[in-house]
Subunit: 285 residues, 4 copies
């Protein structure tokens, strides 16, 4: 009885809301799975579908790939990043356009977004995951309507993926990114998977990529919009700044923000309020 | 000699900037004039042309009409609103798309955006000014790429213009708007022009327009994106809130922000940082 | 082995952080209990102790009481409001001073911050809870160093408590506050506890309190700093605005912010970034 | 007549405002002069006195010294920085405490905040200007209630002054600061005064000061609160980052923000909204 009445009170509020906005659908995150031949396993992912996805069933949407960090998984951005709450608010207010947000899992079993011995995650991402997702859901699927973002290890993945595939992404937004292996992280490890991760981060150094780029490479990089967002107390601050300086030196336009904070979810959560409008404004160009 | 050297120091800085961004053109405000048959006089206006206007000479741009307040003129938004500085920064950062910003003069000789005895400004605006401007400059010139914004008396003009011409504007952003004549402003005046202004504001009450709208009228209003921005210390706070409540009651989506401040240029200047991305995000829909 | 090495990587990061800030203690939330004679039960509460609480063991701190909403409890502000993360960041950056944050439970068994038949929560709060807490912890314990804030039902509690005890609180920050029972919430209920809550909210209407205040009452209210923070999509928007207008009419200074959002944790979480500096700046006056 | 009536309209608004806030005094900037023996001339300065300075004639206030940039003077912060408008708003909202803001002129005749041949400005500042100002006005005049801030050349002055006199300043907030002479600014100059400036900036390098500090020096620097604020497009970005890295390496706590923008008044004006609350929160400790 009590619950019925509590419900009825909630219901009243809902009805009131409905009076303002009839039939309010809402963007939501779903948990899904995809079978991978390359990785020889089933991989989890989370996907946010905006409110119009269900009301406008013919419409195709831009897409943002949103990557988690080390020791995380595909649930992080919704459970601690509150991505659906931020996205719903930002889209409703008209500060950004609705988009689909795809959050893969690169943290269970192994970790890392690159190819390693026995774990070719990068090949999986580009050959299996992205094509499958963009078929399964109404995604526009061209460079002009595809963006990538991520935090820490996922910020490194974001940057490296867009560096190697500038033809695929309109924008790349890196948060507290592992742009290269910092000095203090180079201790030898006897854990094979961690060794592999460390080697792959070094082999995919985003800083070296810029420094070594030839003119054609730089021109290709200029076709992507870049954003680096890193807190003043972040232990990856130095590699982020080195990356930014390399970009400026190479005359590749790049935004930089150093806001208050460290390597924390408060930082990444608040970054969404910048990232969603900024990638949205880059779609369609 | 001294000046030469000062110049050379400035030059060094400029060269350094040029190294980062070769040949940096920059968006600028120009002062222009237009002859009006309806008003039987020449009218001033200011126009901001974004940096790509000069570098990409075939491109057409969206347009924002930006209206000044009582006792002001077409120079206010650039001289105190620093509109070019804000626009250049917001466009460069990728948070909004380049647009042309047109700032007419409704403050010299007479004041007000409506038709009055001997001063048919509204007719001038829609029949002469807007068509002429959109021919003179490379402006896209459709509803999907036209927005209007303004402060105080110009916020009332913004709202009333978009209410009467929902087919012409994609977005309307009203700052500290004179949505209706407030109680305390209804003192009789022996100044003919002020009398006319007061009567025109009452006759064009934005609040009454919403309250009296029939279903077709409400549907038309829903085709415009609305934003009301008014400080908590503004003496026009009440009429802004009455307008917002009328909109919500009529189920016409409308954004509202009450930020810190009064009826001041600090408020309107900072409003540009919200208004430009928000109207930009509404273009092309 | 694997965990050991993961640990060792984390450890490296920690050591790196330690190199920047030797011995980094950090503010934390604890869950505690207090026995109540008035309520004839043990009551839960959460308490945030800032980093200096453990390093400077003679220092006394200002206190903020932070109240949850309907159907919530003392854990909400830490679990979904991330209060420790926000507080640590804001205090570290120097934008606010360290304070103790106390989060009582007014949601288990019953709900509501007022006295009801069989549940005298308000009496418990002022006669048992507050005195006990301020003895148990190093709290300064005077009006000049005590503030209150809360969301929804807790925003109503915040405002009503400070209205009835202006001698106890320096500042009151109300978020999305249930300032009075809104029209749509007045449906009769057969749930006794909900009936009691509704009656208590009506009996403690924050709006009526201001309207009915005599000159001495208004003068007392002016000794408190007031802040009303409510989203433009909040279903309690109207009662918040009615409260603000009553305050302005009574010449009682009051801040108002209407930011983007509804009755959501995104709103309340982000409100902390305003509330903590603002109450901090009001301590000691 | 017209003007009378316009006035009467304005008057109505003013009366309305007065109804809300009886007798609204307001903080204002005054232009003043001080005779200098050291510089053998009369020096201009601007001073902002907050609203309570005139209503509470016994009260003493904290002080912020606010320095202009190269080719500027004491009027810049009020004329383009709109310092009084920002200060009045921030103090009224309760986000910061009222303070006196002193803006000296280091730009007329010569330029620079350091001692040069024939222009001992630094000696003037500490031996004549600061003591005289703190006697002339009701300024508390201790380290705990004194802060310094400035832009570009004045940001370098801010940092260097606080480095050499950590016993005098509670906080130092540097905007787009000339922390050292950047590479591209080291061209030889035949202008004697510019030569002197360049040499003085090099001799007073804020970066070298940190690097060369011994343990006692570092301990003294830790008694000041530091804030570095520099845009991502600023041509002085590199020297600001070098300074920040030197501070972190020396374990001297320092805030850093890299916001959107270049070496512009938009940047410095918006910096005031951060700087005033932050220096305010540092007073009295």
């Amino acid at each position: 009885m009590k619950h019925l009445l509590l419900l009825s009170f909630s219901l009243l509020m809902t009805l009131h809301l409905s009076a303002q906005h009839p039939y309010p659908p809402v963007g939501k995150v779903q948990m899904q799975k995809l079978n991978s031949t390359i990785l020889n396993t089933e991989r989890d992912y989370a996907i946010y579908l905006p409110k119009s996805y269900t009301t406008d069933t013919l419409r195709q949407f831009p897409v943002l790939y949103l990557l988690h960090g080390l020791y995380g998984n595909h649930k992080d951005w919704s459970e601690r990043g509150h991505v659906a709450d931020v996205a719903n608010q930002v889209f409703d207010s008209g500060m950004a356009d609705e988009m689909i947000i795809v959050m893969p899992d690169a943290g269970t079993d192994w970790y890392g977004y690159f190819n390693m011995k026995g774990w070719e995650y990068e090949r999986f991402f580009f050959e299996e995951f992205m094509p499958a997702i963009e078929k399964r859901f109404r995604i526009k699927g061209d460079k002009a309507h595809r963006a990538i973002a991520g935090l820490s290890m996922g910020g490194g993945g974001t940057t490296a993926y867009a560096q190697k595939h500038p033809d695929l992404f309109a924008s790349a937004y890196a948060m507290s990114a592992l742009m290269a292996l910092p000095e203090f992280g180079r201790a030898p490890s006897t854990d094979f998977k961690m060794q592999e991760l460390n080697q792959s981060v070094t082999a995919n150094s985003c800083i070296d990529h810029v420094i070594k780029a030839d003119e054609a490479g730089k021109a290709a990089l200029r076709s992507v919009r870049w954003f680096v967002d890193c807190g003043d107390d972040d232990f990856l601050f130095d590699v982020n700044l080195d990356f930014y300086r390399a970009m400026i030196k190479a005359h590749i336009p790049c935004q930089l923000r150093v806001r208050d904070g460290g390597h924390t979810w408060e930082y990444w959560h608040s970054a969404l309020y910048l990232a969603l409008p900024w990638v949205s404004n880059g779609f369609g160009k």
